[in-house]
Symmetry: C3
Subunit: 263 residues, 3 copies
């Protein structure tokens, strides 16, 4: 069971210090994840030129790498930013979007992860399983598996890279191999909003900027994502209003809502 | 007159099978069209690296090519994806955004279309006319002509490429040269939402994935776009709320709404 | 004090003539700024290929350059578009996003501005100050200074480049070095919507297309941005609904609202 006090402490830190979260992410979700970070209280910046990623990462409080619309130049920038972050002890969150859909995606992920072990990896079940077993296939960017089937893969990945692994799904798993936390909040309609996984990853970037424990930063972020998703879904008529309500929910989240919603 | 039963059959197939629609599209609308595809029930993926487009197209149920923010590297990827799709008999929808605005756009469209005949081409009147007559000018990405003036051009294009051509406008024309279907649904405020044409093209991508007839896949998609646009406009206070309501309308569309709205 | 009649005249010109605004802008806000331009009545186009920027700028009524997610290829295109605009006397609005965050950003801005003096430069206080004093630092893309502290820098910049400089903030300053106009409209929640500064810049692009005075085009645009922000905030529950309401407010703006809201 998560501590509501510690979760709330993270949110207050984010709101009070507005950590700078440097994102190298995909074209589809840049606007969405920037808005999610602003709504939760962080300060997002998107920058990907090899000429400046070292400088930009260097002033950031965390780095979020998301390979969603990867290409050669962008992978170079991601690699450079991750190395800079590691040297400067700036925490890295990595999202292996579509790993398992093409071998280019899986191999790019493994290359980046082997060069610089991220602090947290977040993906859906198929993506996490594909990073461990090359026979696993992902349907584009959508999971073909449920999160509980990915537990063993997540633990193996956490051990191999010395990191925390988050498998999002109906129930989210957050594991550092030693400990595993389950987050049961969320709403199924979120899967009908593009980039809701990427938004979760970005929110993890805000929490890891203020909480040194990868395990708890990850769990707190996923709980907030799930709770705000539920609050957003209450008055949503479909995925369009859900996406809007989600930003409003991040912005307005109170401690008493967390007490009411956390499962 | 379209058959409501057959239209509804397509929607049920999309919702039940979630076809994977591979999009190589422009930066402006990636988020919007991914959300539209999710809302109607499909599974969108955006990927443009030359290293992976063959693999990604290869697992897709349809391919949507939209040249909106074209550049050299992206055209290479589009070309490669289209060739892969043709070889594997995966249907291709092509959107010649801004053809007629610059010769670079017109020539790129013709090059791609000549290499690999798409199954469906969708554009506004100026764009379709510019593909047939190089003297026609497009105002940026907005049409300077009405759809009925483009009928002859659409028929010529359909004949030349052995494909279905959709001209969207106040009335949409869908022609395979032999037959022409008119769709009279829609709402004028949609022209104040960026990428509503691109959204129509993406939705066509979902229908062609489940319906082998390009003519009817195109007509069904345009009818759904128009009907959902009208439903969305009913409670919209402007183009901001219209865009949100449109996603909700795709998600909630019922057969009885189609019966009520189809003109 | 701004003349409401002259401000309204600009809006009517935009709505009646739909000026074509060519944007070379960042990935994060492309959708948002295209929608803002459509909602206010302009016709936006986004195009960045070096092969076509001269043609596209050549048919446009104004050019908006925003370096938000800059990279080498895009800077080339920006440079080429700006030179074309200058030759053809098409007004240029320049947004130095994140100047002062990395030296790459600051230097790129100065290079582009030195090559082709823009008609209007709009930034937040830190960005404007960083263009004048290399010791000033910007926190990613967010200002670390208030707009009034940037007045001297804005005046210096306006003199050096013979242009109008807009510093947006709680109070917006618009100066051509000789005259300075203050716009006091706006809402603090706008800072929680990504790209609200970029949206302001795009709106300036619509006004400069119909008003030859850079000073008054800039001031009218910022007043409209601020007023619509206030109208949007009235029924907003957070930054999600604010963003949507802002588009609706642009679309529905009346002269009597300007009379009621202009401070």
């Amino acid at each position: 069971m998560l501590s509501i006090d510690k979760l709330w402490q993270d949110i207050e830190k984010i709101r009070n210090t507005s950590p700078l979260v440097h994102n190298i992410t995909n074209y589809v979700v840049m606007n969405t994840t920037a808005n999610a970070l602003l709504a939760i209280g962080a300060s997002p910046v998107m920058a990907h030129a090899v000429e400046e990623v070292e400088s930009m990462t260097g002033i950031a409080n965390s780095l979020v790498i998301n390979i969603g619309t990867l290409s050669k130049k962008w992978i170079e920038a991601m690699s450079l930013a991750m190395k800079t972050a590691k040297t400067k002890r700036i925490p890295i969150v990595f999202d292996p979007v579509g790993a398992g859909a093409t071998s280019y995606r899986t191999e790019t992920c493994l290359k980046l992860m082997n060069e610089t072990h991220p602090n947290i990896i977040r993906g859906n079940a198929s993506e996490i399983m594909a990073l461990v077993d090359s026979k696993i296939k992902t349907k584009g960017v959508d999971s073909a598996h449920t999160s509980d089937t990915a537990l063993k893969a997540a633990e193996n990945l956490a051990e191999a890279y010395g990191c925390t692994v988050i498998v999002s799904g109906k129930v989210d798993l957050i594991t550092d191999e030693t400990d595993t936390i389950y987050v049961k909040n969320g709403h199924e309609m979120l899967s009908k909003v593009t980039g809701s996984g990427c938004t979760a990853t970005a929110i993890v970037g805000a929490f890891i900027a203020v909480n040194e424990s990868s395990l708890f930063a990850g769990a707190h972020a996923m709980a907030v994502m799930g709770i705000c998703g539920e609050i957003a879904a209450k008055n949503a008529k479909g995925p369009g209003s859900l996406q809007l309500n989600l930003l409003d929910a991040f912005y307005n989240l109170t401690k008493s809502q967390i007490e009411d919603y956390l499962k």
